[in-house]
Point group: D2
Chain length 138, copies 4
């Protein structure tokens, strides 16, 4: 196990605020996708390349816990890492922080799909060395 | 307990598809918000009015399970209902279907906030008669 | 010339407001797409079917003038119609109103593309009878 | 006249693609907002600070011309600059490029509003030194 934690900075645009003056809750799922993109590039498997190789990793479950609001112009730290990859699935855990303070955390579970057949297929073995856990915790 | 199930039809725009040809996963959280709006209007407490009365119901937890993809021009049935309302919180459960077939389901947990103080406050008693459960199941 | 004006009602979700308490300006382009979808269904050429027949109508120009803000829970009237269709292009004009009052207006210009070749192709003749004008005004 | 051209790099997420496999047209208005944010920070007037000082710069007109599609994972160059600032208005011009090739260009016109009164007010004099033109070209 050699967990790789991908990180990025992200400046909140006005577009993502709502009339409560905070980032609208759905945008965190896009933040999670942005950091998954960084994570996959970091481990040498950019998602676009993965698609061109005939795979897809659709989200089958998403979960977010909102601790404190993010606001316009915040310079967020977004982090993400592979929690586990087993059978035909994997889970990516994510965190959003501002100045080190946790604003939101959550995860997405993905199925590995063979695009030609549309069927689930064994998760890419390249993921295993980067996982935080051996197996699903639940 | 007299559960009220709010429902609406929703036509998927091109804006919400992604290059996999399906609705991008974050939009389901907006679908959940749309049906919560209908639900609150149905039970006589439109969210805008609730804000004008000094309350807010920020999302503190969101969960979605994706079963089958929704697609462009789909005429979706979105349903939502109060699962429970207790202490300073409530949970709304949601489903997205096409021709009766379940595409996604999930829930949001909300804190009830007094906007003047920014502090949690007892959930509106008007919610209780419309809840599916007496108390949180977990 | 027998202009067809498509119309729809649209309830503004919290998702589309920003911290100024009004609908964020980019969402109007999605409203324009929603009404184009209605317009094409009305004239018997749903966009999805048009794609399956091998055509695409990508936007090559978009313009919006914002007169008054739309707000959360507003029940908007969105209208759209074909301004002209000529050569390989067409223009759709759109308006957004609340209680009859104009909030925003604008247009999109589309190229007609043959999806197989990726090349511009003559605009569908089915559009002509529904246009407001004979030819581009500019 | 000492034009300041703000620039940023931006990685396209899956969220912003559509089923045509390209960036959906409304997102360019968010790109324009992102670069306006950079521009205002560059000239020492971050938009959040401007709001705290009692001003707002709502968009009253937006225009985009789409030349070539942007795609998933593209590392875009977004540029923006003040075209003019005169009376109670200003215009910001924007470009989106990939590897130097122009994908889209356009502009937004803003009114300067006094937030307390809600009335138009003289555009901030701090903008003048950074404008590309003396006065509106039209």
């Amino acid at each position: 196990m050699a967990l790789h934690k991908a990180t990025m900075q992200y400046r909140v645009p006005y577009a993502e605020t709502d009339q409560m003056g905070v980032v609208y809750y759905a945008h965190y799922l896009v933040y999670f996708e942005r950091i998954r993109g960084v994570l996959l590039r970091d481990i040498g498997l950019p998602y676009g390349e993965l698609e061109r190789k005939g795979f897809a990793l659709p989200v089958i479950e998403a979960h977010v816990e909102y601790k404190k609001p993010a606001r316009y112009e915040d310079d967020l730290q977004i982090a993400g890492w592979l929690a586990w990859a087993q059978g035909v699935r994997c889970r990516v855990d994510c965190e959003v922080r501002r100045d080190g303070v946790l604003l939101a955390e959550g995860y997405t579970v993905h199925a590995c799909i063979d695009r030609a057949s549309g069927k689930p297929t064994r998760i890419l073995p390249e993921f295993a060395p980067f996982c935080a856990q051996d197996a699903p915790a639940h």
